[in-house]
Symmetry: C2
């Protein structure tokens, strides 16, 4: 018998850009007995999960389901279904994930117009006007919660503008969903996709997605086949719909996990879940401010679940993150691209958005910064967070 | 608080075309604590898993990994990476999955030549000669274990022929891997992909894949980008390789499951695993033969893990499968396409390939067939299987 090293992952506190901390009920759900992908029980689970996804995405869209891949597969599914080669698409880029969407759109054969804002800033309706007039896009793509910068994009006005220009709006809500309002119907978002491993607090592996009626009309009237067989929503709709035509073998146990994660959110109440994210974000922010650490995104445009903050001058990024991981089991994220070494990305997501985590993280950070002889009032971060919790209503 | 129906899947005995029965250790592995996709522990798990995949796929290929999707995503990854628009590809079609590969290849822009054999039959080297000469393909695609028909395709001679014609061989081993020899290096298979939910006995959600040196050469010299960002192996290789460049968030807990599933196979010994599949297939076959049920594929070309058998005349397909599921918790598969209502597909896969399952299935089947007044010697199926086990060495 060949001896294999046993699988014993360390217990981490996941406060990075995702995956986030997983609720024990979700991990338990993953280990429940696997059934077949056409088992009557599984079909019922799919139905109920679709209903829960509609609640969390605030939509009545029939075509609401989970793509069998991670959030990036959701992005690709959104783009390759809605885009036919030669279609005009405007992509808003102010971070890594806008850039990724641009790449995906080009590979799908879109005629892409890129509009840019500096990393950490967001798009105003005005920023889109020229591109809408010039490019006459079929589709506009935008990221609601840029995981690379922590900037929060509002969509209501932009959606109106995009629809006035006769285009469809495609929204990346990977990090947003569950942490801030994502109102698919009220804001007329034609396609919204997300991932499981952010504010839904489920392991990575599925991508919730919803297509509105106008998006489905465009997809159903395509002249060419969707370039991806695996992500072809016209075929997927026959499995998720009443026909139950076999397409590919669904990731059964991942579906259990997402089912349980959604149930936990709806038990808490979606609005309560949003305000919980806001509360613990504010406590973290108060704590960081007390030791002189500020956000990269401007006031008023900061995401609650993804806190991108400036590393204090003179502090060794790698040493602090290594110390957090090795001594406290806490994972936070470093900066991506140009912000590497300058920015920490602290996740306050889903099950992880709890006072325990905020206080522990601030206490551990204080210890590590003190070791680097960083100038700050010892104890101030924890005290400020506690004061926030004491006084916040 | 909104009440959500609790997740309590029934315990099934999965003897269909997949997903197969999952080893308890694999389900436990899925529920282990999630870590980050760049956590040093996870990177080590990836390394070890790649080594185990190489052992199971019998290859030294550097580019051996798991695609973050099910077996069909593995098929798509294989095709869209190796095919550039306009490339010539020959696809061998003798069942559903050859047909799927054809569709995927067309969507990837290949100039596809389809060669066909009737369902249940296989390809001889002779069947390929004309197409190789005429189409001068860059790539030939073939399915090793057609899950829709239970036919077993040999590859050694065909591989030689394909390489003599200067083409690359792309092999679907979704159902084959772990159940019969898949010798990637010895047989010179340039690309092999599989799925987790067949003979690896892991829940669906990942697709093991390996690319040989010549395949990687062709991919690295592409003039166009791979049409799928999500499945682009040149980008994936930077995450799975030493660079560890973030691509997409890996499905951490699914990786735990596959890790454990591979460990279980290597602890048993891969050759022992193959012969176990052969043994329990033979016992099942003996049992079925004793009550007059024969195979759709010809003698000598029957897959051990996927037993496609002819439903006895006058027997109600749906009633038997419903009875198996509802009264015994046993899932088997019905026929696909033209064989619907005529064929049962009985999986003897991975952890499910055990004497207990064979005997229980035969006993339950006898009960259901007797209720339909089917003519057969009562008890003969179980007796024949037991006799096989008693006498087989």
């Amino acid at each position: 018998m060949e001896l294999i090293n046993a699988l014993n992952p360390p217990v981490r506190l996941l406060m990075g850009p995702g995956p986030s901390d997983i609720h024990p009920r979700v991990l338990e759900a993953m280990a429940k007995p696997t059934v077949g992908h056409l088992d009557p029980y599984y079909l019922e689970i799919m139905n109920r999960m679709q209903d829960m996804l509609r609640s969390v995405m605030r939509t009545k869209n029939e075509m609401t389901m989970a793509i069998s891949g991670t959030g990036s597969a959701g992005m690709e599914a959104a783009v390759v279904n809605i885009i036919e080669p030669g279609d005009s698409m405007v992509v808003c880029v102010n971070g890594v994930f806008g850039g990724r969407m641009l790449d995906v759109a080009q590979r799908a054969g879109a005629n892409v117009t890129k509009i840019e804002r500096p990393w950490g800033e967001i798009f105003s309706p005005n920023d889109l006007k020229e591109a809408l007039a010039k490019a006459k896009p079929n589709v506009v793509g935008i990221v609601m919660a840029e995981t690379s910068t922590g900037a929060r994009q509002s969509l209501e006005e932009i959606s109106k503008l995009v629809h006035d220009a006769d285009a469809l709006l495609l929204v990346d809500a990977v990090t947003a969903l569950g942490g801030v309002p994502v109102e698919a119907d009220k804001w007329q978002l034609d396609i919204v996709y997300s991932g499981t491993q952010k504010c839904l607090s489920c392991p990575p592996g599925l991508a919730p997605i919803t297509f509105g009626a106008q998006a489905m009309d465009k997809i159903r009237s395509r002249k060419t086949k969707v370039q991806s067989w695996y992500l072809d929503v016209t075929m997927l709709s026959q499995y998720w719909g009443q026909e139950r035509v076999y397409h590919h073998t669904a990731p059964i146990n991942m579906t259990y996990a997402l089912y349980e994660a959604l149930a936990i959110i709806l038990e808490e109440g979606l609005e309560n879940c949003w305000s919980r994210h806001a509360r613990h974000h504010a406590a973290l922010k108060a704590g960081l401010a007390a030791i002189g650490i500020g956000y990269t995104a401007a006031e008023g445009f900061q995401l609650p679940m993804l806190n991108a903050v400036n590393i204090p001058a003179g502090v060794d990024d790698a040493a602090v993150r290594r110390g957090l991981l090795e001594r406290f089991g806490i994972e936070i994220g470093g900066g991506l691209g140009a912000s590497k070494g300058k920015v920490w990305r602290i996740g306050v997501m889903g099950y992880g958005a709890r006072a325990n985590n905020i206080l522990l993280f601030l206490a551990a950070l204080e210890q590590l910064l003190a070791e680097q002889n960083c100038k700050f009032e010892r104890g101030a971060a924890v005290a400020a967070a506690n004061e926030y919790y004491r006084t916040a209503t």
